[in-house]
Symmetry: C2
Subunit: 805 residues, 2 copies
């Protein structure tokens, strides 16, 4: 069943049925002030942090689902009938209420027509601002005058801290006041840390009523579907002290036939009448340091139709420019829609919000997962290189002098040189091993080998060049190997649910080490570090026998316990084969091509499904001596226990592309491509425009249902997989490599890409319908040998043509 479509020209996903199988959401704003909004205008807002800066409250996993939100009620004052600018919360029958929701980049628009009245609500946070617009246009297309009252409803959190707000009620319900003066609501709230203020105002119509007491607005034993004030047609003028605040302003619109009126509601952080300074600690967040202007001044300056239009246009232009750094045109329109708009947007949201704010991440995770972050940068380095370099700097300074990494980095309080060194068993064995890939991406994108010489402190003690940071990461893993010469699994490797500890060994981390040695070897060669290059090569050679021994006959084992028990072995009843070691065998190049092919064929045979590649099979139902399987908390087919963990599916695409098998790589890509569920949304359930963390695997009765959309490493790695491995356009120090591995049916494709300050167009033709192999490359008509367009030849506007065959 279809609930919407991609409007690529507008860079929008248009939802035509608001009763989607689950909430289909969008992200608004920036790290200063952000928000989430569902297709029914449900969702919440946050200032600087989803966990400790809650502005609009959210009831997670609630009934009714995903409420409250940014609600505007429209009431026909002649009949008393009322509805909402978004389908929910009032939820009029969909045969009477026409709805169209346009999720755009950083904004969402809710179009509705009911009872002969049209409305369009536009929600967004203007760039760089700490307030949000709820701009409503009401249109009377009929031939008689209409009187429409509009009521806003914003349920404001009582406390910045989400848990204080949601759970410590014997405290948080008694800290709030909300007053009304001259058209504006002022929510005040004395917290333990600071005094926080919010303001709420409206422009474009006179305020005829207000409520700031949630329970007075809603009325007893009612819900947002049926607020007493709206039913009655009048707010009651409450100014709350304690209990729960809300911001409701009522305006009344007299609409002549054909008339349109725009009313602009704004909600912002700070005081209505005084500049407001955030006194909470802010480290590395200069944006928060300047005082915010009074809300009334913001309203005067920003709450005009012209300014709303200008700010929205500016926001759209900003995203157009940011996404314009990589645009593709292939024979696959769904691939195009994803890569050019939504997939790219998702990688930016993941970079911005890590795993902290969504409808399933309630706010507890305020820090950055080390490995998550190291991977999140890969997809945005071409678009926002400065931000990536800053973030990567944070990660490098969260590496310890012994080479491991802090599992969680807290950007607001991280203090290099003074963080405690974890105990060995607290390290994750993969965290620091992602650094070579991330650093190589920065170097490849920029061509700046000097970055390797930048000196940065360690988390706990000392400092080193970026290159030596990488070497420490490799040394750490080399130093912490087990009896079989493989890397110790420690607290976890990439798979949080597998705990090999200090006695067991992880094949995933072993291949990631091998990959790191290869990548650092390349960087060493490129930067003239001969000794280091030799060292990498020697270490890689030393690893070979141990890797050879981990071959299980048709694939690589997942790991080995201290007692020698193998996980991911054909000899076992459960978890016989795992995806991760076999894809990384291929990606790292640390095994023979023959074994890589056999392993990936085994993956195809045992793990591939119509909805993606399962993480392991058969799923586990019993503990395993010597290896911590915390995935046993999940039923078979869920999450890490045999679910289709989409992040790792991206690696399967990369692995097959590296093996030159373009049809299979593309088939793997298509299997979990959200857009391909546009016509089958009831199977996939999650948004067809963003990747989810996992899809229920074949052993789950929910097979095919996707869960935990938006904030997932899937976004970043799939973006790498499709742009750099399928389409094969990959920046390197020497220039822009174009080495596609595509489905044989394709005639070719085009890529436009930013590259070191220039814009380069890549045109690939595939006359002989191969998957891989560059027969000819030209830069602006000049033939080039190989498949790397040399940096020196590339100018702004250069055209790189590639013929496969």
């Amino acid at each position: 069943m279809r609930y919407g479509y991609f409007d690529d020209a507008a860079r929008e996903y248009v939802i035509t049925r608001p009763d989607t199988p689950r909430s289909w959401i969008n992200y608004l704003g920036s790290r200063l002030y952000g928000g989430i909004v569902t297709q029914n205008a449900g969702g919440y807002s946050f200032y600087r942090s989803g966990g400790t800066g809650r502005v609009l409250r959210m009831r997670f996993n609630g009934v009714p689902v995903d409420e409250p939100g940014r609600y505007l009620y429209l009431r026909d004052d002649a009949t008393g009938d009322y509805w909402s600018a978004s389908w929910q919360p009032v939820g009029k029958p969909l045969d009477e209420y026409a709805a169209r929701v346009r999720h755009g980049l950083g904004y969402s628009v809710f179009e509705a027509e009911y009872a002969g009245v049209r409305s369009e609500l536009t929600c967004f946070i203007p760039a760089g601002q700490a307030f949000e617009y709820w701009s409503l246009e009401v249109h009377n297309p009929g031939d008689r005058p209409r009187t429409i009252s509009v009521f806003s409803y914003a349920e404001l959190a009582n406390e910045w801290h989400h848990r204080q707000d949601l759970e410590n009620l014997q405290y948080s319900q008694y800290v709030v006041t909300a007053t009304y003066r001259d058209g504006m609501i002022h929510r005040r709230n004395s917290t333990r840390e600071a005094t926080s203020d919010l303001w709420f105002g409206v422009a474009g119509a006179e305020v005829v009523g207000f409520d700031t007491d949630r329970d007075a607005f809603l009325g007893p034993y009612r819900t947002q579907a049926r607020p007493l004030a709206v039913e009655r047609g009048a707010c009651s003028g409450t100014e709350t002290v304690g209990d729960n605040a809300c911001a409701s302003l009522q305006v009344r619109l007299e609409l002549a036939p054909g008339e349109r009126r725009q009313v602009i509601f704004c909600l912002g952080v700070g005081h209505p009448d005084e500049p407001w300074r955030d006194e909470r600690p802010r480290i590395g967040d200069p944006a928060g340091a300047a005082p915010l202007p009074p809300g009334r001044r913001v309203m005067a300056e920003y709450a005009t139709p012209e300014r709303v239009a200008a700010e929205l246009a500016a926001l759209r232009a900003e995203w157009a420019e940011r996404l314009g750094t990589l645009q593709v045109r292939t024979p696959d329109p769904e691939l195009n829609s994803m890569v050019n708009v939504w997939h790219a947007y998702q990688t930016h949201m993941t970079f911005s919000w890590s795993r902290g704010v969504s409808l399933v991440e309630a706010g507890d995770r305020d820090g950055l997962g080390y490995r998550d972050t190291a991977q999140d940068v890969l997809a945005v380095v071409h678009a926002i290189p400065d931000a990536v370099r800053e973030r990567l700097g944070l990660l490098l300074t969260a590496q310890t002098a012994e080479g491991g990494a802090l599992p969680l980095v807290k950007p607001l309080s991280h203090t290099p040189g003074r963080e405690p060194t974890p105990r060995l068993e607290e390290y994750r064995s993969d965290d620091a091993l992602w650094l070579p890939i991330s650093v190589a991406a920065v170097v490849g994108e920029s061509g700046d080998l000097g970055y390797l010489d930048v000196v940065l402190p360690f988390a706990d003690d000392g400092e080193a060049s970026v290159f030596d940071h990488l070497r420490r990461a490799l040394e750490f893993s080399l130093a912490h190997r087990g009896p079989n010469g493989l890397v110790q699994g420690l607290a976890a490797d990439w798979n949080d649910c597998l705990q090999f500890g200090t006695t067991g060994e992880s094949m995933f981390s072993t291949f990631l080490l091998a990959n790191g040695l290869r990548v650092v070897h390349e960087l060493a060669v490129a930067s003239g570090r001969d000794e280091a290059a030799a060292w990498c090569a020697d270490r890689l050679a030393e690893l070979e026998p141990a890797i050879d021994a981990a071959w299980d006959g048709d694939w690589f084992v997942r790991g080995v316990s201290a007692t020698g028990a193998a996980l991911g072995s054909a000899a076992a009843d459960e978890g016989r084969i795992y995806l991760e070691p076999n894809v990384w065998a291929a990606i790292s190049g640390a095994t023979s091509r023959e074994r890589a092919v056999r392993a990936m064929d085994a993956v195809h045979e045992h793990l591939a499904t119509e909805h993606g590649v399962a993480l392991c099979d058969p799923p586990h139902t019993h503990p395993m001596p010597g290896i911590g399987l915390s995935l046993l908390v999940f039923p078979p087919g869920h999450k890490e226990n045999g679910g289709i963990f989409c992040h790792a599916n991206a690696w399967a695409v990369v692995a097959e592309a590296m093996l030159g098998r373009g049809d299979r790589a593309y088939a793997y890509y298509r299997a979990y491509l959200p857009a391909r569920y546009d016509d089958d949304a009831e199977t996939h359930q999650a948004e067809p425009y963003v990747y989810a963390q996992f899809t229920h695997g074949p052993s789950s009765p929910r097979f095919g249902q996707a869960r935990n959309p938006w904030l997932t490493g899937t976004a970043s790695w799939t973006y790498v997989a499709v742009t750099q491995h399928l389409l094969g356009v990959r920046p390197e120090v020497a220039g822009l490599r174009v080495d596609p591995c595509i489905p044989t049916a394709w005639d070719g494709f085009e890529v436009v890409r930013a590259f070191r300050g220039r814009r380069v167009q890549v045109r690939v033709t595939n006359p002989h319908h191969v998957s891989r192999g560059v027969a000819a490359m030209e830069v602006d008509g000049v033939p080039v040998s190989g498949c790397v367009a040399p940096d020196a030849l590339l100018r702004d506007g250069s055209v790189v043509t590639v013929r496969l065959g």
Copy 2:
């Protein structure tokens, strides 16, 4: 406005309008398995802990309010119309739906009549069991046959831990499975700590349908008010894997004219078909150690109408016996209703659940506040002396060797001798100073002076007799005094919102120390500890000059900062007078009667209101140098910032009674007596049958509204105030003191009381309409001098007559 009435004969509060101003709740069960139920059957259940044993989920501070709960839907299969056995969640118009809710002791009954069908739902947890009954009787009083489908709806938590369940959704939504077999639902859930199971079954009718997937039962974009399965008339047979579980069983009742049918739903901890053992650590909780029987066996044994009736009768009998240990008959029927039933029940709930489970305590507080617990025991020591002695033992072993106390005691993990010693600034200055009062209560109630010789370990190191524990408490406070000779305030005294720290001094704690010296002096004299008695007397004398110096002219200051600034002084603009030091000046006896009288007159002049005595006046709006006023987070009139903090109101009653001013003591008692709001519930809002933590003070626009009902120290101290000080019946080592201080209008009153294994009747007459002064006392007709009925004279059934005058 009136929403219900006290039915003292049935020991019930009967709610006649279910649309009460706030949720009016009841508590079910025991420490093994407990629950909360609102007047609309909303609420939750918990196994062993509200925080870490969540069974039924609760959405706190939700919209809709206080859902979900124990919901049974009734559907007329002829018309398709449906309603709920409780008014909400369906919420039929109250002019069509007749509702009566009977909250009893440990059970609640929901009577309804709608569409010509009567129903009665009885919810309770049988004594000592880990399951709950939802027993429904459906009656067709009409003259035509009716077909009624009944659907249960229990929203089961995904995780034992409330926060995992409510917030860590990217994890907790993927751990649950719920299956159906042979009439029973089995909810399984692999947590990190243990495997947990729940079962749900029904008896009395054949199961014709089931759902275990919450969202399938409710249907998309619906709420509990309008579940799809009920609207459709048929469950859809879902067995959930992941997402959210529920337990819905559908039965169909064919009711002939006049016919009644009973169907019994049960929800329990454990497995339907196998014995179930809780593997989580349990210290000092032997009840949890035995395996639970299979749910199917429980159903067979317990789910019969006869057994339900027998279990309910047993529960009622148990409470009748427990509450029978102290019953009163006075000229004030509201006093009688409270003391004989609800107030007593509240003291037991407070003792059981501390501050851990309510509608405002979401579960985060799993430990016992030291001072809370020390005071909670005072009201139940006559009823459950063994449990009190055990709890007091826990507290004594949570005292450190230097005499202070751990602020929070965790009963499931407390390890005497191995707890870390707090730093000085972490101690609260009052915590250990409550021990003399609690120990004296145990000794007075039992007459067992040997208790003082029991040797118990300290929290951190060493051991001592109970008497020496008390002495250490006094020594700790004596050792930590400030430059004015008053007790340092440390992290807080009783008022958590005042932080005098290690440099400022607390007058509250100083008086509590003086009171402790007086009480321990009495215990020393009674137990022949002459040296200790002299030591107490000397220390008390030494304190006198410092106490004298804290007199502000008309009252005592609240405390002094290091710089000499006084809180609670007439010289200040805010917080000029505080309640606590002045009541404790009177109670402790550590000042002259003249000053005590002047201080309490000042309290009356400045703090007394029609709804009780405010904690301070004027409320604070500005910080104060040198004294931490965290009450500044609360607007004026809220909570500690000038609110009517009911706990301290009890002390005002005690103080006035000790001064012999019975009319004022009684007026103070009446001012915040919940029952007196029975006709004015819209003012008080909270339940008229239990005390609340605070009432909004006169400077709040919500003046008179009570908040945070049930779990509050108000219950215990008010019980002490009314029974031991107003009615004046107080156990002492020598016997039973009867020294009332009553309103002059009273002609007398009667008390029946357990006393050391006997039942004693006290009959007081007041022919001359005095407040205080025993003119004559007889025990079983034998005159006794003074006002203490000697232990040696009291037998079971003895009658103590007292004539005032």
